[in-house]
């Protein structure tokens, strides 16, 4: 039986069906980075604004190296090849001229990126000229066509893996907008034709080709000369492409290191709206806390992975046992036993449907009605035609009437009442910010809500409330310290980024520990602006009174009763403690003859914890004396 009865009683967190932790990539990506290595790539870009004048080659290498560092964390199952063309040396399976596939030990040409690949590639510029060399590959008079060769090599490499599961891409870095410009007549036409045909073939095989144009020494990269045809751009897209190409490079370099998840639905839900109306929804996990990767235990001597083995023992007899066949639960001072069969029998009934119970105004959804990250639902007509139409109609009504739906979500292990909040689509220039659909918010039950504020209820008197003046002062602060463009996920998790950075440094053998920036620190400069400081000072005086700091200092000085008492105990302890020769007592093993009270004199006098049994106290004293 493939059923695990523990399932039923486990926390939701480790439920294998659990929607929150199904983050496995179902598809992966294969990328070939094709880098032009012609001598032209090594001329510094003499851009007026850019004084640093890096060579385009350096820009490309840097960009790929950063992209790899990101990729190895975000989606380490992706496969990459780095391939130069217009090189002196050649290295490729087809033995074609002018194409050099860069690789390191223990790695196939198209394989997952490794720490070694990243490390060696990052320093490739030092050895490039001597080992690989740069050379124009397309020269008039010769039939050689290095661009054609490079595409061919890339295409051959990308043949690996099925078309269905793998997203295949060629990223082409070059600053030559007219590779066949130097050739004249029929030969030129012929070469252009065959090269474009080669690209088309690749695209027909499901390989997409992307171009990352690099700066040219003197003029703009003119995409319409040749590459528009190669990558299959329509006229209208041309201007758009130029605008976005620069961003793309920047994006690749600056990408945030985070694990990427392919879009996949968590499950299909049947949503019963009323008797006779059930529609189909798909749920998606748009927000889930990202954790540092899984820990693998290693043998610190060999650095080889360890395998864990569980052994069960009877707590009463110590006998080794097989996986016990029964479970029990104490109830009314007895153990009630269950067999696995009985548990699976109990489990056999469950429905996974979402049932609408009604609607409420949004104001009924309080800020404390939350337990877990929300789940996004989107309609589907895949199996029930008409679902989307009903969903859109309800969605619009809910938005317009400012209401949310209350529904019962009956997952087998965790039936819950949920709120469905309609979210309208929000788009910005960079694309979709909020997708249209509904967010399912898991509501707490009364058992889940606590009332800590009632613990400190004032008994005799009414509690003070702010006066209008105080509120006004607070409003000034609110206006001053305003995060205008706050967006919810603008901060990277500093702990996670540090984790990744440390991992990278250790894997690549970098000496320096990178100092990851903590974006979450408050803007101290901003807070020190006089306007804000004054507003805060006004508020402080309004609620705390004129002499708050002074009063605080005084009350700190005039230590509270409790601490005075503590001080008194410590003083007597020091005094009493001096009456004993502790070293001698310890040496003769006489400590155990003292009473606990006496032992505590020593501990209090030396500021040690006084909790625990007598043995614990003695051992603590001995440790402190260094014996």
């Amino acid at each position: 039986m493939d059923f695990d009865p523990e399932d039923l009683f486990r926390d939701d967190d480790d439920d294998p069906e659990n929607e929150f932790y199904q983050g496995k990539e179902s598809t992966k990506e294969s990328v070939v980075y094709l880098v032009d290595a012609s001598p032209r790539m090594f001329y510094p870009a003499a851009n007026a604004e850019d004084e640093k004048s890096e060579t385009p080659f350096h820009v490309a290498v840097n960009c790929i190296s950063q992209a790899l560092r990101t990729q190895i964390i975000n989606s380490s199952y992706d496969e990459v090849t780095i391939c130069f063309f217009n090189t002196r040396e050649k290295r490729n399976l087809q033995d074609l001229n002018g194409v050099y596939v860069f690789n390191v030990l223990e790695r196939e040409y198209l394989d997952r990126p490794t720490a070694r690949l990243i490390k060696e590639f990052s320093s490739i510029e030092e050895t490039f000229m001597s080992e690989i060399g740069s050379q124009y590959g397309i020269i008039s008079g010769s039939r050689e066509n290095s661009l054609y060769n490079a595409l061919w090599v890339a295409q051959a490499l990308l043949r690996k893996g099925s078309r269905k599961n793998v997203d295949k891409r060629i990223l082409l870095f070059t600053n030559e907008d007219d590779p066949f410009g130097g050739i004249k007549g029929a030969a030129q036409k012929d070469m252009i034709r065959t090269t474009i045909q080669r690209a088309k073939d690749a695209q027909d095989l499901g390989i997409s080709i992307e171009l990352l144009p690099l700066s040219r020494p003197n003029d703009e990269f003119n995409i319409s000369l040749f590459y528009a045809d190669l990558i299959g751009l329509e006229r209208d897209d041309l201007s758009l492409f130029i605008a976005s190409a620069g961003d793309k490079l920047q994006d690749m370099t600056d990408q945030l290191r985070k694990r990427m998840f392919k879009k996949r639905k968590v499950r299909r839900i049947t949503f019963s709206i009323a008797n006779g109306i059930s529609i189909e929804l798909n749920s998606y996990a748009l927000l889930r806390p990202t954790l540092p990767g899984v820990i693998t235990w290693l043998d610190s001597v060999t650095n080889l992975p360890l395998k864990s083995e569980r052994a069960s023992f009877c707590a009463d007899t110590g006998a080794l046992m097989q996986e016990p066949a029964k479970r029990f639960h104490p109830y009314k001072n007895e153990n009630v036993l269950f067999t696995m069969d009985e548990l699976s029998e109990i489990k056999r009934v469950s429905t996974g449907h979402l049932h609408l119970l009604g609607f409420k105004p949004l104001s009924c959804l309080k800020d404390y009605h939350n337990l877990r990250p929300s789940t996004f639902v989107f309609p589907s007509d895949e199996e029930i035609v008409g679902s989307t139409c009903i969903f859109i109609a309800l969605h619009r009504s809910m938005l317009r009437l400012r209401r949310f739906a209350v529904a019962f979500y009956g997952s087998s292990a965790h039936p819950q009442i949920v709120a469905l909040i309609a979210q309208d689509e929000i788009t910005s220039s960079s694309g979709q910010v909020e997708p249209p659909g509904m967010h399912m918010i898991y509501l707490p039950y009364s058992d889940d809500i606590r009332h800590p504020e009632e613990v400190h209820m004032a008994v005799d008197a009414e509690t003070p409330r702010a006066t209008d003046d105080q509120i006004k002062k607070a409003m000034v602060i609110l206006k001053r310290v305003d995060l205008k463009d706050f967006s919810v996920c603008q901060f990277a998790n500093p702990a996670l980024q540090r984790h990744y950075a440390v991992l990278q440094a250790l894997a690549l053998g970098e000496d320096e520990m990178p100092d990851a920036k903590d974006e979450t620190a408050p803007d101290e400069e901003g807070l020190a602006r006089p306007g804000i400081v004054n507003a805060l000072e006004d508020f402080k005086v309004a609620v705390y009174g004129e002499n708050h700091d002074q009063e605080e200092a005084e009350s700190a000085e005039k230590s509270s009763e409790a601490s005075r008492k503590r001080k008194a105990i410590a003083e007597t302890a020091v005094k009493e403690s001096a009456n004993y020769n502790w070293a001698e007592l310890a040496d003769n093993g006489k400590l155990k003859d003292l009473t606990v009270v006496e032992l505590k004199y020593y501990l209090s006098a030396h500021n040690l914890p006084v909790a625990g049994k007598k043995e614990a106290l003695i051992s603590r004293i001995l440790t402190h004396m260094g014996k």
């Binding site: 029990f328 109830y331 205008k484």
Partner: protein
């Protein structure tokens, strides 16, 4: 009959020579007492069993017995006493000692809970007198004082359940208010808490508004001098939520400064506001201990050993293990010491990043359970500072963004949003709610198509939109002037409340026509089974109760009120199964089919349709043979059985035999129609299950049979209904082309002539 004032004074002086209470002592006891792990609560239930309560007593019995049952599992050493008032008899210590206090019965003295108490609570006697709740409170308080004296402060609770419809007696001297002040001062001295649950559902005719108002005032007066809370409930469901069945002592997760800036700080305490109640875990059972060992724990210990892959016999000691993290295909080892040296180590602090418009933080970004920030208790400055910020934020519709490190040494920071909470009670300070927000890494940017880009057939038209508007407006759970239904604060977790017979809880809900839940049947069943097994160890797993088979559905009353709106909504939209989708659609198809069947039925029996359907379905689920009474239903049920792949082929086989038999036994074609129905069902089933060959082969056999046995009329019937071979277009596995399938009938007919 007047309450014996003399007694009150006597008690006070007897137990408390220092009459004025020592407030500090009491408060400190609250603070520290609550943090104790071994907090054993002493609870006295004060239950009104007077005539006007009779209709409510069944639920009160259930709620209270559930309370004790839950304690049996979670707080085994808690103590409970039961006092009834409004009863016919009188039996309490005070009446013996000082007289008075009639119609108050101590059903159970305060003692550690046991199973008998559950039984006692399940059959409360019905009273005949008009109970005086003040008498009951004094009796309950007296029980607690006699039992605990000055000890156990802060862990004593009186819980009064009444409808407060009868007048209280006039005291000998002073006013009722004075008396309440005396009582509540007493309660405060002893660190008692009073919870009043006042049931105000549909009023019985005799209710006297004036008396009830006076009683409400009296009960509210308790909260002036002692820790007391009154909750008014309208529905039995809320009754379940209002009686807090499990007591958790709150523990702060942070005490310190909320830093607006380096110079402006507010002292706050942070608690959890919501936290998911977890389920009891089953333990693994060891049967190794000898059966006569009464002290055996029967527990199973689990040891985990780490062994190297190369040498499986060698156990690697814990100190030789090192953690490794994946970096691409490699695993990078990092020792704890190394990690400690480089890891992110923020300082303990709670700092303001800034304020922003509430609309910038959408509700669905809240990530976790919720915290509450309260100003440091007793610190008037902090209370004022929080109060002014809360009110300013509310006024300007702003929220605050914070960066929090709760503890020193915590390896991560939390970014969250602070939202204002204006206190509704005079004696509770204003506070903030705090919700954790996601980091950039936590967001998965999936793209979804815009609704506007969908084809027009997917867009609702004007009438449809109007029907939806009405539907959303009318199916209202929070109508003005009535109690909001399903308010989380009063909606108990059905699974946790299940502990014992949830059947009756469920039954109750149905009875009162309030809200029904779909509970996790298996868990419910588990607790039901637990109770059964504790009484009878060899009990079988109970069959699913019929009432439990009903799934969640909205309040039937709400549905019947809005019949026309729902019917209109249903009629405006069309839903049908996607014919292209086959294999995986079986279950949905079934659900859909019965759903559309329902659509045709009268709305009168709406609430019951679904349960009937479900029971019907599940009985079908167990079909093992195709009978000739309802062959089509049996066939479909069998095809839908998922417990073994055998069923599909068996169903097809059986159906074929049945059709043949029907044709063979047919006399002048009297079974043709039935055979036809079966054949159509078989065809549909074969398409759904992707078994076209089975069907096509059968059709070939059938055509032969028709020729041989002279079943020409049946064949004509087939032609008239266009029942032919399954073509490739209908099921990919078929090797019959579309036009071939069309020709099949004609061709066969011609040759048969």
């Amino acid at each position: 009959m007047a309450r014996n004032k003399v007694y009150l004074d006597f008690q006070i002086s007897f137990f408390f020579p220092f009459k004025g209470s020592n407030q500090r002592c009491h408060l400190s006891c609250l603070k520290f007492g609550n943090r104790s792990i071994f907090s054993r609560e002493a609870l006295v239930l004060l239950l009104d069993v007077g005539p006007s309560m009779h209709n409510l007593l069944p639920e009160i019995e259930k709620v209270c017995s559930m309370l004790v049952q839950k304690k049996l599992i979670y707080n085994k050493s808690d103590e409970v006493g039961i006092v009834l008032f409004g009863s016919e008899d009188t039996d309490n210590a005070l009446t013996k000692e000082v007289g008075g206090y009639e119609h108050v019965v101590v059903l159970r003295h305060i003692k550690v809970i046991d199973g008998d108490m559950v039984d006692a609570l399940q059959k409360l006697p019905r009273g005949t007198a008009c109970g005086d709740f003040l008498d009951a409170i004094v009796v309950g308080m007296d029980m607690l004082i006699k039992k605990f004296g000055p000890t156990n402060k802060g862990k004593q609770r009186l819980c009064l359940i009444t409808n407060a419809q009868y007048p209280t007696k006039e005291p000998f001297e002073g006013t009722k208010e004075d008396q309440i002040d005396t009582i509540s001062a007493q309660m405060k001295t002893h660190g008692m808490r009073l919870d009043c649950i006042i049931v105000r559902g549909k009023l019985t005719g005799a209710a006297n508004k004036k008396i009830m108002d006076e009683n409400d005032l009296l009960l509210n007066r308790f909260s002036k001098k002692t820790i007391s809370k009154s909750v008014y409930v309208e529905s039995p469901t809320s009754l379940y939520g209002a009686l807090r069945t499990r007591n958790i002592s709150p523990v702060t997760i942070f005490r310190g400064d909320l830093e607006l800036s380096p110079s402006m700080k507010i002292k706050v305490w942070v608690y959890k506001k919501t936290s998911e109640e977890k389920f009891p875990t089953l333990k693994r059972y060891s049967d190794k201990a000898p059966s006569n060992d009464r002290f055996a724990t029967h527990e199973v210990k689990v040891d985990i050993e780490y062994k190297s892959l190369e040498n499986p016999n060698k156990v690697v000691p814990p100190e030789q293990r090192i953690k490794g993290y994946r970096y691409g295909p490699q695993v990078v080892p990092i020792s704890s010491a190394e990690w400690e040296a480089v890891k992110f180590k923020p300082e303990k602090s709670v700092k303001l990043l800034g304020f922003t418009d509430a609309s910038n933080v959408m509700r669905h970004y809240y990530m976790k359970d919720v915290n509450v920030f309260i100003p440091e208790p007793g610190n008037a400055k902090a209370i004022l500072a929080v109060s002014s910020l809360v009110r300013a934020m509310k006024e300007m519709n702003k929220v605050a963004i914070l960066r929090c490190v709760w503890r020193q040494g915590q390896g991560s920071v939390v970014i969250g949003v602070l939202t204002p909470n204006i206190s509704s009670l005079d004696n509770i300070p204003d506070s903030f709610y705090f919700n954790v927000l996601p980091f950039a890494e936590d967001v998965r940017e999936f793209q979804f198509p815009s609704f506007n880009n969908f084809p027009p057939s997917w867009q609702p038209n004007e009438q449809q939109q109007e029907a939806a508007d009405n539907f959303v407006r009318m199916l209202d759970l929070a109508p003005s002037g009535k109690e909001e239904a399903l308010q989380p604060d009063f909606t108990p977790n059905p699974v946790l409340e299940v502990i014992l017979g949830l059947q009756f809880f469920y039954h109750l809900l149905c009875l009162f026509g309030m809200v029904s839940f779909m509970m996790s049947f298996c868990i419910q069943r588990f607790y039901h089974f637990l109770e059964l097994k504790s009484k009878q160890p060899d009990a079988d797993v109970p069959p699913l109760d019929r009432t439990l088979k009903r799934v969640a559905e909205p309040d039937p009353e709400l549905l019947s009120q809005n019949q026309s709106v729902i019917a209109n909504f249903r009629n405006k939209f069309e839903l049908k199964e996607n014919p292209k989708k086959k294999k995986s659609s079986r279950l949905l198809w079934r659900e859909k089919r019965s759903a559309s069947d329902e659509g045709e039925k009268d709305a009168e029996d709406v609430p019951d349709v679904q349960s009937v359907k479900l029971i019907g379905n599940s009985s079908k689920m167990k079909v093992e043979e195709i009978g000739d009474l309802n062959p089509v239903q049996d066939f479909e049920a069998m095809m839908a059985r998922r417990d073994s792949s055998e069923w599909v082929s068996k169903a097809i086989r059986n159906m074929k035999v049945l059709i043949s038999d029907l044709l063979d036994s047919s006399c002048e074609g009297n079974h043709y129609d039935k055979a036809m129905e079966c054949l159509v069902a078989l065809r549909r089933g074969c398409i759904l299950e992707q078994e076209p060959k089975e069907f096509n082969q059968f059709m070939q056999e059938l055509s032969k049979k028709c020729k041989e046995k002279n079943l020409k009329r049946f064949w004509e019937l087939l032609i008239s209904k266009h029942v032919t071979l399954i073509s490739k277009e209908e099921a990919i596995d078929s090797d019959v082309a579309d036009n071939e399938a069309k020709r099949f009938l004609v061709k066969t007919e011609l040759t048969s002539e």
